[in-house]
């Protein structure tokens, strides 16, 4: 034990080394990074055109990779073995289950819902009742038929009081859901099985994200519901490593800490996948060594110039640029007097050189964000959005307006109090860059800057929850619906932000399923957020995927990862 503690500090150094080398900074928590809505869409294997750099010399391909004919290997940080959808705690298990299960409804590369296991769906005019029509002859991977009963069972199970996963289904306010959860009803009133291929669900209040939330994976009632008793879900843990699903692949073998092996599912609704075997290889540390030696076929890296050059020099990989569906922001402590003032927040946005911090210092592996939406969402817009271009003079003017005057020692003061920013960030390269640049920026504005760095993400979050901070760096989890990126401003997560107009627009945005109408509402919301800055929007990340040039038909969905196109992958 003594030994491991002593090595811990050394490890942190080593760890930061890895982080800079491997794909994406996870914000410290594995659960943040996942393709949480698995999918398999017919259109997702669109031509991989947008800026793919083709392999220059496939003859450089290592022998290890050449010898594989019917197996593709992809690195995955740390799957733990809980492969039942809705029940896994780690995002990596989510990646695994996204290959084992297919949802009812998935989304295309813009986030627009498209059919998967459900052939079509109807939404009642009041936007409260969703009716799903299943495809004919759907089968689970054990060959048993999939019917509306299984769908109803899945939704019911998620309303159990012992359910401890992070599915949003229980939060949709399904009619009768609360009564079931409290044990007052033996079934959920709002869920109706109409015939074996049709199932409907009625909500108490409209919610446009319900379509994709409800239209997720289906658990077999015969398999997962055999031992189900209300309030008792422990039995499911025993089934985690023996999944029965509907995805393109079936689980062949899970070797803890090493590999997850898959074999093609002959019952997959779109037909058996082209490549017989697929493997997720656990790779905790650096993935370079495995890509270079041909042990894995696919890996992701931060899109820095250096990484791209190095990948190009390998010669045998195709390079696919990719923007994760997230946004980064500085959470602002709105309970502190100074930061309550919109002008101060705007001054910070103007006064921080975000271009230098997030784009230039990252060798181009990023972009500046100004709204709470990922740049690839269908709702993304730059219309009427203030870009808050770096402008220290404007920032100073705003601070003057807000009553913060430069004091004797160069620090701004108001009512005898100095303007201080206590900043919290997690230990990684990005934070170091931020602190270095922000220190200068804040000095120029006359703001006292006190950075604090945490090696541990949970400690950082708990300090923020305790309220002892002014600014804290965060990134959102993977966003599918535009509402996902906004919910933190209405559900109390961002303490001290309470804007009735924002709430009204948020509800309005979820009250309709008409995309054009929603676009308009979100534009207005983004403009509002962009002006008020309940948090200071910072950046979008950019990554690249590098993969063995022999793999054909590869595409990565911003919302669902590799799952949608995987059934079409094959080795040339």
């Amino acid at each position: 034990m003594k030994k491991s503690i002593a090595s811990l500090s050394a490890l942190l150094i080593a760890g930061s080394l890895f982080l800079s080398a491997c794909s994406s900074d996870k914000g410290g928590n594995s659960a943040n990074e996942s393709a949480n809505t698995p999918a398999a869409s017919p259109t997702a294997s669109a031509p991989a055109d947008s800026g793919v750099i083709q392999a220059s010399d496939l003859s450089k391909l290592p022998d290890t990779a050449k010898q594989r004919t019917d197996t593709i290997i992809v690195g995955l940080t740390d799957p733990s073995g809980a492969f039942t959808p809705y029940f896994h705690q780690s995002g990596y298990d989510g990646n695994v289950s996204s290959l084992l299960y297919t949802p009812l409804v998935t989304v295309d590369n813009k986030g627009v819902p498209i059919p998967a296991l459900a052939e079509s769906w109807d939404i009642s005019p009041d936007n409260l009742t969703y009716t799903f029509h299943l495809r004919k002859d759907l089968k689970f991977s054990d060959g048993s038929p999939l019917t509306a009963d299984d769908v109803a069972f899945t939704w019911t199970l998620l309303h159990d009081k012992a359910y401890d996963g992070d599915s949003q289904v229980p939060a949709l306010h399904v009619k009768g859901g609360e009564a079931y959860k409290e044990g007052k009803a033996s079934s959920i009133e709002g869920i109706k099985v109409i015939d074996p291929l049709t199932v409907s669900v009625t909500l108490e209040q409209p919610n446009a994200s319900a379509l994709t939330t409800l239209g997720s994976d289906v658990l077999s009632k015969a398999y997962y519901g055999k031992d189900y008793k209300f309030g008792q879900l422990d039995y499911i843990k025993k089934l985690h490593e023996k999944p029965v699903g509907t995805g393109p692949y079936k689980l062949e073998k899970f070797i803890p800490g090493q590999e997850v092996r898959f074999v093609a599912n002959e019952y997959y609704y779109k037909g058996k996948p082209k490549t017989e075997h697929f493997i997720y290889k656990t790779s905790e540390g650096d993935t370079w060594q495995f890509l270079e030696t041909g042990e894995i076929d696919f890996a992701s890296f931060s899109a820095t110039q250096e990484n791209i050059e190095k990948l190009k020099s390998l010669g045998f990989v195709n390079i696919l640029p990719y923007t994760p569906s997230t946004y980064g922001y500085l959470q602002v402590n709105l309970e502190h007097e100074a930061l309550k003032d919109k002008k101060v927040r705007q001054a910070i946005a103007y006064g921080l050189d975000r271009q230098s911090i997030y784009v230039d210092a990252n060798q181009g592996a990023g972009a500046v964000a100004n709204i709470p939406s990922s740049p690839i969402s269908w709702a993304y817009t730059e219309e009427g959005i203030n870009p808050y271009k770096y402008d220290p003079e404007k920032a100073k003017a705003l601070l003057d307006e807000a009553g913060w005057k430069v004091g004797a020692d160069g620090i701004r003061e108001k009512d005898g109090k100095q303007l201080t920013i206590h900043y919290l960030g997690s230990k990684k390269k990005d934070t170091d860059i931020f602190i270095a640049v922000a220190k200068e920026n804040f000095a120029e504005l006359g703001i006292k800057f006190e950075p604090e760095v945490f090696a541990d993400f949970n400690a950082l979050v708990s300090k923020v929850e305790g309220g002892d901070y002014d600014l804290a760096s965060f990134s959102t989890p993977l966003l599918t619906d535009p509402a996902d990126g906004l919910i933190q401003f209405v559900d109390g997560e961002i303490k001290g932000y309470d804007n009735p107009k924002f709430k009204e627009l948020y509800d309005k945005g979820l009250a309709t399923n008409d995309l054009e109408e929603r676009k308009q509402i979100y534009k207005e919301l983004f403009q509002l957020a962009n002006d008020e800055l309940p948090v200071i929007f910072t950046n979008y990340r950019k990554t690249v995927y590098a993969y063995n040039g022999r793999i054909q038909n590869l595409d990565v969905s911003p919302f669902n990862g590799i799952a949608p196109s995987l059934p079409d992958w094959y080795l040339q």
């Binding site: 034990m1 030994k3 491991s4 090595s7 811990l8 050394a10 490890l11 080593a14 760890g15 890895f18 914000g27 410290g28 928590n29 594995s30 659960a31 943040n32 594989r68 290997i73 740390d78 733990s80 073995g81 705690q89 012992a162 401890d164 992070d166 939060a171 843990k237 985690h240 803890p256 800490g257 090493q258 590999e259 092996r261 493997i279 290889k281 656990t282 790779s283 905790e284 540390g285 650096d286 060594q289 495995f290 270079e292 030696t293 042990e295 894995i296 541990d456 993400f457 949970n458 400690a459 950082l460 979050v461 708990s462 300090k463 929850e465 959102t476 989890p477 919910i487 559900d491 997560e493």
Partner: protein
């Protein structure tokens, strides 16, 4: 002797009880809990989950519940991995043990040989050269040696695999499987041996130099015993006495896994699992593992005392 062991075992129980309470409180008081890190959850859902997991109860009550279950042999379910803690131990510890056992063995053998020869030929060119090499190895961080060897032996020369325990997708069984694992463990074992051999070799060299100057060695030589016998039977046995105490302390290290080595070589060991679970505040797994190491440490110390008695009859245990 048996009275001694009974007394020590009694102490052990008290020590473990106090240690587990301390460890539990430390983990519980570290800022943030298992729920905090999941930024996808709304504040209400977080409160609901804390209720389900019992994380909203006072620390002492949580400790009492944990202790009660632990005494019944139930270390609980890992929250993040969704598996019983004991199952996880079984899946990961043996991999760590394999690495540690082989490298510890090699470390001791190498260190004893180097230490003896260096002491016997004190200040010779061999002694100087070896000591310089040892200091060099000791002052380099293990992740550097590890990454360097991966670069040279695995990526450039392709002699050894860059990491993992088996070739990905390998269907090997029986002897082929054993061969494959040996092939994969060569690199991490080399690095661990390099890291460990330095201090131990210096230790043995030092105590050997002391012993060689003793009168009884002169007597043995005067009797006309062969030099080899003098060195390895008479001198080494006495020189090893202080080193024997170290054997017991190796016990927890054998099962504790190595954080850095496992990470660099992608070895499926318990060290990595422990580090991840600390970041996630996976309390049952953290507690289970730390208490296991505490138990091994206490047993290791006891073992050292007993071994000392076995090796040196002059020592009386009370």
């Amino acid at each position: 002797m048996s009275a001694f062991i009974t007394k020590r075992l009694l102490y052990t129980v008290v020590i473990l009880f106090a240690a587990s309470l301390l460890i539990f409180s430390l983990y519980a008081l570290t800022p943030g809990d298992f729920i905090t890190g999941n930024i996808k959850l709304t504040p209400e859902r977080k409160a609901e989950l804390r209720e389900i997991y019992g994380l909203n109860k006072p620390v002492l009550e949580r400790y009492a519940i944990w202790l009660k279950n632990a005494l019944h042999g139930d270390l609980g379910y890992s929250m993040a991995q969704q598996k019983p803690v004991l199952t996880l131990f079984n899946q990961y510890i043996w991999n760590s043990f394999l690495l540690a056992a082989v490298s510890t063995f090699l470390t001791w053998v190498t260190a004893v040989i180097i230490g003896c020869v260096a002491a016997y030929k004190q200040y010779s060119w061999f002694d100087t050269l070896v000591m310089v090499a040892i200091f060099a190895a000791m002052s380099l961080p293990s992740f550097f040696i590890g990454l360097f060897l991966i670069k040279i032996l695995a990526v450039d020369w392709k002699l050894l695999p860059p990491g993992g325990m088996i070739a990905t997708g390998s269907q090997a069984t029986g002897l082929a499987y054993v061969k494959e694992v040996i092939h994969h463990m060569t690199l991490p074992v080399i690095v661990m041996t390099i890291m460990g051999v330095g201090s131990l070799a210096r230790y043995i060299r030092g105590s050997m130099i002391d012993v060689i100057k003793q009168d009884y060695i002169r007597t043995a030589r005067a009797k006309g015993l062969k030099e080899r016998k003098v060195l390895f039977t008479h001198a080494l046995r006495n020189a090893m006495l202080p080193a024997i105490t170290l054997v017991g302390f190796e016990l927890p290290a054998l099962f504790g896994g190595s954080l850095i080595i496992e990470k660099i070589f992608n070895w499926p060991g318990i060290g990595q699992l422990y580090l991840t679970s600390f970041g996630l505040r996976d309390y049952p797994l953290l507690m289970g593992f730390t208490v296991l190491i505490a138990i091994l440490t206490v047993i290791g110390t006891l073992l050292s005392d007993i071994l000392y008695r076995v090796a040196d009859p002059r020592v009386r245990l009370q």
